[in-house]
């Protein structure tokens, strides 16, 4: 499979994996290895003073994985900027998955606040990977202000609905000059294969792997599906046709006249 480049950094894997919802740090660590991912997302939260030492991330090998802190929980640009600065101070990493989700039910990203935060963060030297609705105009606006990728959603976070936004994703892929990372709602390996087949540069999966009956096996399935989809895209798939097109020759039949 060809390599992925984001902000000048090259990756062999086109599957980004989230670290939420795993049943244990050990299962998470095994699933991350099985996924082949090189970029893994993490969240920032207040320390739980009544229940400290819940160090879910202790098993992550920081040499092997690039931590990508997210701004989950932010409802405004100001909150997202604050979380990004804290993340950078905490990790020494200036990459951030920018999420601004004011609506707790569908967790859809706010385009206005996301664009506003992206402008500030890019100016402050962050490598910004913004989570957005599959809006081609917004994707262009974000790439114009200097984000490293765009991360349009397939369907609402954690919903396992797959590529409900396919038509808009195709436009984003066609127009984008930065890598397109399809994020959210990808519930099955077939969903990520579809995203890669239409030309997405990468995908991000969390819930579908973390909450599977066997997360390690599911991580492997997603890794294979991403690779299959990417290879198919690069191999040049043919467009569907209305009528049949015979695969066998239409001459030399064993038939009279």
């Amino acid at each position: 499979m060809d390599k992925l480049t984001i902000a000048g950094r090259t990756f062999d894997s086109r599957l980004l994996v989230g670290t939420g919802k795993f049943s244990s740090p050990q299962v998470m660590a095994q699933a991350l290895v099985a996924s082949g991912a090189e970029i893994v997302t993490v969240a920032l939260r207040r320390v739980d003073i009544d229940n400290p030492a819940d160090d879910t991330l202790r098993e992550i090998d920081r040499e092997r994985f690039l931590l990508l802190p997210n701004t989950s929980g932010a409802r405004t640009a100001d909150e997202a900027v604050r979380l990004s600065r804290l993340a950078r101070a905490a990790t020494g990493i200036n990459w951030v998955k920018l999420e601004v989700t004011p609506d707790p039910y569908y967790l859809l990203p706010c385009p206005v606040e996301t664009l506003k935060a992206a402008e500030i963060l890019v100016k402050e030297g962050f490598v910004v990977l913004p989570y957005i609705n599959a809006d081609p105009i917004l994707a262009k606006r974000l790439q114009d202000v200097g984000t490293a990728t765009v991360m349009p959603l397939g369907s609402p976070i954690g919903s396992n609905q797959g590529l409900k936004t396919r038509a808009s994703l195709e436009i984003i892929v066609e127009q984008s000059t930065v890598p397109v990372v399809v994020d959210a709602g990808l519930g099955l390996p077939s969903h990520v294969a579809e995203a890669m087949e239409i030309g997405a540069d990468a995908v991000l999966v969390n819930t579908a792997i973390a909450t599977a009956g066997d997360p390690v096996e599911m991580a492997t399935a997603f890794r294979l599906a991403v690779e299959a989809g990417r290879r198919a895209y690069k191999a040049g798939p043919r467009a569907p046709t209305h009528s049949a097109e015979a695969s066998s020759p239409l001459t030399g039949f064993l038939r009279n006249s």
Binding site: G18, T19, G20, K21, F22, M28, T41, V42, A43, L44, R45, R46, V47, I49, P52, A53, D54, D55, T56, L57, L67, P69, N70, S72, R85, L86, A89, A90, T91, I157, G158, A184, L204, N206, T207
Partner: protein
């Protein structure tokens, strides 16, 4: 009693038990290595700076950790 607001909750300390630094506060709260960064009255403080960061009565302190997320 002296008070600090830590992660949104008011905490009282006897004057002779009031932590002098962020590191001392973490120890008093029984928070080990969880906190990877802090905010003191909105100012970001890196973990390396915890031992020499003074804590004063009435301050608002946020102790932040990394955790699993998508």
């Amino acid at each position: 009693m002296k008070s600090l607001k830590v992660n949104g909750v008011e905490r009282q300390f006897a004057p002779d038990r009031m932590p002098g630094t962020l590191s001392a506060l973490l120890e008093a709260l029984g928070v080990g290595t969880d906190a990877v960064v802090a905010e003191v009255d909105g100012r970001i403080v890196r973990r390396e700076e915890f031992p020499r960061t003074e804590v004063l009565e009435g301050q608002q302190i946020e102790l932040i950790r990394l955790m699993g997320g998508g």
